[in-house]
Each structure stands twice: as C-alpha cells, then as structure tokens.
C-alpha cells in the first residue's frame, strides 16, 4: 500500500514538473554549497597538514608563528625580515642539529615562486608523512644557473629539461623588472606531490645571490647588464641572508630546548616554530571563519528545505479536489498524510542527490584550478560518508517539514468530506 502511495506521490510530482524542478534545484544548490564549503575546508586542512613532515623546527626572523609557517612552507605571504648568513652558520654548526635546509624566497617566474636552497633540500624535505621528493626526469641543480621545477610548473608552462627561463624580481606576475640577463636552464622536474613544491622553481642559494649582483639597492643598477656571466661566477656568491631554515635534530626530545636557544639567540632577533604547533594555531584562527561559513551554508540548506514546504503548501489548495477524489475511492486520511510527506521526502532526496552530484562535477571541473591557485587538493575527495550523511539529513528534514502540509491536508480531508466547497 505504501509503495503504491509512493507511486502516486511520484506521479503527482511529475505532474508539477516545473515547480518540482525549481524546488529540487533550490535544494540541490544549497546542498552543493554546504558540501562545497565542507570539502574545501577538509581539503585545505588535509593539504596543509600533509605539506611538511620530518622537519622538527623552522627558524626565521622574528615574526608571528603562523606567518613564518605560511611563507616558509606554503609560499603564502612575504617574509618581513630575513636572518643573516652568520646566524644561519650558527644554527648549522650546533651540536644537536642533524641537518639544516636554508631557503631564500623573493623572486618569481610567471607567477611561480622561486626558492633558493641547497641540495640538502631534496634529501630532507618530506611531505605526507615521510615521502621524499622524487625526480620525474633530470636531477638536482649542479651549475649556478640550473633550476629544478615542480610538476605543476612544468605542466602549466610546458617546460621540460633544457627549457630556459628568466626570473622576475619580486613576486608579481608581469610588468615587474626581470633578471633577463641571467637566464636559467631546467635540469630537473620533480614528481607531483600535491604540495606547494609542485608550484616552486628551485635554484641554488648562490644563484639567488648571482642574479641580484647589481641589484644591491633594491632596483636594477644600470651597470648590472655590463657584468658578464664569467665575472659573476668569479664573485663570492655566499648569500648574505636567508629567509628561513628547516631544521632536523639528532634527538627529537631536545626540540624545545633547541627552540628556546634559537628564540633567545643574542646575535639578532630570531625565532623557531614547531610546524605542528604553528599549524594548529593556524586552525584556531581559521576555525572562526570556517564556523561562520559553515553556519551560513547550513542556513542556505534550511532555505532550500523551506522552498520544499512553500511549493507543497502552495499546491495544496489546488489539490483539495484531488484529495477528495482519493478519499472517495477509499484513501484514508493517513494515506493523504503519507502522500504529502512522501512528496516532500522525494523532493528532499532528489534535491540532495542532485546537490551531491553537482558538487562532485564542480570539484572535478574546478579541482585542477583550485589545486593550481591555492594548493588545495580536492580531486581525491570522491563521494564519501559526508555525502551520504548529508543526503540522509536533508531527506529526513524534508520528511519532517512535509508533516506540516500533510497535517493541514489531513485535517482538511476530515472536514471537507467528499465534496469540496471551492
């Protein structure tokens, strides 16, 4: 019997295709928004959490913990100050330090950040719980003007081994001054990691110094072009400063005391952060915004559900005759009640399913752009439990909302009798 009422509910909805489709669309959009926000949040968190691994401390000039983490690991924002080479050497030579990877940021190439570092980077930088960087082709930089590029850089710019590139001073995409007199050559392409490494161009620290010969004042000296490559190679290219240092310790248990001694270094203001601690601080900051966003998207879902209520309530008057026919052929008031609840639930279910489908289509379409622009990897987030729960919750809520028009129709069908007074 209930199956046959469900069939009636379905045909009744099909009879009002236009308004039913609009209602389904409203529910689908609201569900897609909610799931999209949720998936972006999770994707961002997972992306951030898996970006760095195996590094005990990150040292840099004194700034906020979150800020240091953001610019050194995620290439977001700029360093406000750097640490001097002697300070780096002090770190490097400490007894309790197993390895260090100095990095130097500040230049770019067609929107991709350039990172000056040492070959130790390829050995010690780990991500996703301990994976090392692997070369798809080529190898580490060897010569002064060699560059190793991330997978995204290679695919987006179409670079391969031997491609030449000119770096830009500063981080703009275009229109800024370029280091066109010192072109680089690609000697290695890294495998995809799903981290900001994919979007980074790696060169040696010395190369960073070399391309800035003649730029000591911050802009290009007119004489800079007259300094030949041979002359540059002859200079002492030891960097004066580095932006940050990744540090691995011999004994992880000493992590806090090493941090303290870096924080209180007398030579210059310096600080060290534990990546995990800085990350959880970042979550604290962002969770306020996340919760606000989640709250807003939940309200939008509520609006979608109310549209189900609206569409059924507005149809109710026009359907009094239909109800009395059903009563006349033997439908009980409970059947009328069930018919309307079933319509609401069907609208909710189809709308929610359409929303899930929509969000996955959108993620599939926009995922690569998000990954490229913001390093948020959403492509792997296929249909999950979250989708199932959302569909169940929306259908359940629609079912309960359907109770309102169902109750009205139920009362009416008792009062109307067989003949509707229209």
């Amino acid at each position: 019997m209930n199956a046959s009422i469900l069939g009636l509910a379905w045909r009744s909805l099909m009879n009002r295709k236009g308004s039913a489709l609009l209602t389904i669309l409203a529910v689908a959009l609201s569900v897609a928004l909610f799931l999209g926000v949720e998936k972006a949040r999770q994707g961002a968190r997972e992306g951030f959490a898996t970006t760095i691994s195996g590094t005990h401390l990150i040292a840099g000039a004194r700034t906020g913990q979150v800020n240091l983490l953001l610019y050194s690991v995620f290439r977001l924002g700029d360093a406000t100050a750097e640490i001097s080479w002697p300070a780096y050497e002090w770190l490097e030579n400490r007894e309790d330090v197993a390895w260090t990877v100095p990095i130097s940021l500040g230049d770019s190439h067609r929107g991709f950040r350039v990172l000056g570092t040492t070959p130790a980077y390829f050995e010690h930088y780990k991500y996703a719980g301990g994976d090392s960087l692997e070369f798809a082709v080529g190898s580490e930089f060897d010569d002064l003007f060699d560059a190793v590029i991330g997978a995204e850089v290679a695919s987006e710019l179409g670079y391969e081994l031997g491609s030449e590139m000119v770096l830009t001073h500063g981080l703009g995409r275009a229109g800024l001054q370029t280091h066109e007199n010192r072109p680089f050559r690609v000697v290695g392409v890294l495998d995809r990691t799903g981290t900001p490494v994919d979007r980074t161009i790696h060169v040696s620290l010395e190369a960073i110094t070399a391309i800035h010969v003649g730029w000591e004042t911050g802009t290009k000296n007119p004489m800079a072009d007259s300094i030949s490559e041979e002359m540059v190679r002859g200079f002492d290219l030891t960097p004066r400063t580095v932006t940050a240092v990744f540090i691995g310790l011999k004994q992880p248990g000493r992590i806090l005391s090493v941090k303290r001694s870096i924080d209180t270094y007398r030579g210059e203001p310096m600080m060290a952060v534990l990546p995990g601690v800085a990350l959880s601080q970042l979550w604290e900051v962002s969770s306020v915004a996340e919760r606000a966003l989640l709250g807003v998207s939940l309200f939008v879902v509520a609006v979608g559900l109310v549209s189900i209520l609206t569409s059924i309530l507005t149809s109710l008057n026009a359907r009094r005759r239909e109800m009395s026919i059903l009563r006349a052929v033997g439908a009980r008031p409970a059947h009328i009640f069930f018919l309307l609840v079933a319509e609401a639930a069907l609208l909710g279910l189809i709308g929610a399913l359409a929303g899930v489908l929509l969000v996955h289509v959108l993620l599939f379409a926009a995922g690569p752009v998000l990954a490229a622009r913001y390093g948020i990897n959403l492509i792997g987030t296929g249909p999950g439990l979250m989708d199932v729960y959302t569909v169940l919750a929306v259908t359940g809520a629609a079912l309960m909302m359907g109770g309102i028009p169902a109750w009205l129709a139920f009362r009416r069908s008792l009062a109307d009798g067989l003949t509707v007074k229209l």
């Binding site: 009636l8 045909r11 099909m14 009879n15 239909e322 026919i325 052929v329 033997g330 009062a415 003949t419």
Partner: protein, 238 residues
C-alpha cells in the same frame, strides 16, 4: 435481504451552523436497486452522500451500510467499507489529473483488496474492458491526459472507476449536470446497464426531475428531509 443503505432518524448539522441541514426519518436502498434521489440545491443531497459514504458522522440516528453500523464504526473501518463497497461519481472534476485514463479507472483497486480480488486478470485489462463497455475504446483516447478529455468522456471514465471491482453500490452525485440531453441520456443508460451487469445498486442524485423515468424508484429529498424547509434553501449546499 439486508439493505445496502439504511438510515433511521438521522440528523446532521454542519459545525458552527445553528440548524441541521438534514433530518431524515428513514431512507433505504436495496441490493441491485436503482434509486433516483431528487432534490434542488440546498436540499442536503451532498450531505446525505457524505453520511452514506462514512465521510461525515451524524449527530443523531443510525446509519447502516451493508448491514454494518457506520455510526459505531471507527474512522478506519468506515474508510475500509467505502473502499470495498462504494463507487462514487462526482458532478465534475472526477479524475486525478496526474494519472492516465486507465490508471484513474484502476485507482480504487489500490485501496481495496476486496475489489482487487473481484477483478479477474490484470487491473489494467479490466479497466480497459469497462472503458470499452462505456464506449471508450479508442487507444489514442486512452493515452491522452485526462484533462484533455471532454467532460462527457471524463464522466464515463469516472463511471468506469466507480464500477471496477464490482462494488455493491454506485453513488452518482449530479454526474450529468454538465452534459447535454443526448449525452446525458446515453450516460445514464450505460451506467444503468453496467451496474445491472455487476449487480450493483445505483443511487443517482440530481436536481433534474426529468431523469426520474430512467429509474425504478424516485425519492424526493425535499419531502423526506424535515430540515429542508423552503425558507432554508439559501444554506450552503454545494
């Protein structure tokens, strides 16, 4: 022989109305009988049909349907009795707009196991047989949306629906008031014949005294309804 319908001393007042709309000493329909119930607007026809079908409950009196006490029966029981034993045709707008012609005819079988059991073979086949008997056999016509049928065709679909599964009583509430004379007479003849075929009683309600000749017995509601005084004709009736 148990009467199909048996009312005694029934009085019914609509909520918030000062006076009863119906006050009957007695009214019966016997099995297989074809009764014409005549009455102008406001004479309480629709109320009487609501009472017989168990959708309305009287304030006083006894109503028996198929020998069963409707007043004492629960709402669910009255719904079951209606589904199993009655076929109802309204004045207009008889059909569920989102169901096809055949599905509309087969609709009562969804709600009554008894009537489903009375149909030999598939519900759709029986629906088509009844439609054909009532002059609707064109396959193209049966595929149309019900709102695209003419009024006369709609009323015949409604008649087929009232007859399917051999109910004991068919109630027709002004089913011909929107039809012209020829279509009207044709409709009544077909309905009477089909009802006779299944042995169903027929209670045909209309304000039109000219129809009386089609029936075995005529009851004038104005005469038996003690509440229907000429002064009260302005009351709501529908």
């Amino acid at each position: 022989m148990t009467a199909l319908v048996d009312l005694k001393g029934v009085r019914f007042t609509w909520p918030k109305q000062p006076r009863p709309v119906l006050d009957l000493a007695e009214f019966t329909v016997l099995p297989g009988e074809r009764v014409f119930l005549r009455g102008p607007s406001g004479s309480g026809k629709s109320t009487l049909l609501g009472l017989i079908s168990g959708v309305l409950a009287p304030q006083a009196g006894e109503i028996h349907l198929m020998g069963e006490d409707l007043v004492a029966a629960s709402g669910a029981r009255r719904d079951r009795l209606r589904a199993d034993h009655l076929g109802i045709i309204f004045q207009l707008f008889n059909l569920v707009p989102y169901l096809g012609v055949v599905a509309n005819v087969a609709l009562p079988l969804r709600f009554s196991a008894r009537r489903r059991a009375a149909v030999q073979g598939a519900p759709d086949a029986e629906a088509r047989r009844l439609l054909a008997a009532l002059g609707l056999s064109d396959p193209e016509l049966l595929e149309r949306r019900v709102i695209d049928l003419s009024v006369g065709q709609q009323q015949r679909v409604a008649a087929a629906r009232a007859l399917i599964g051999a109910p004991d009583l068919v109630i027709a509430d002004e089913p011909t008031s929107a039809l012209d004379t020829l279509a009207r007479d044709q409709f009544i003849t077909l309905l009477s014949e089909e009802a006779a075929q299944t042995g169903a009683g027929l209670l045909f309600v209309s304000h039109d005294p000219g129809l009386a000749s089609h029936f075995e017995r005529t009851v004038d509601l104005m005469e038996i309804n003690r509440a229907a005084q000429p002064a009260s004709q302005g009351e709501s009736a529908a």
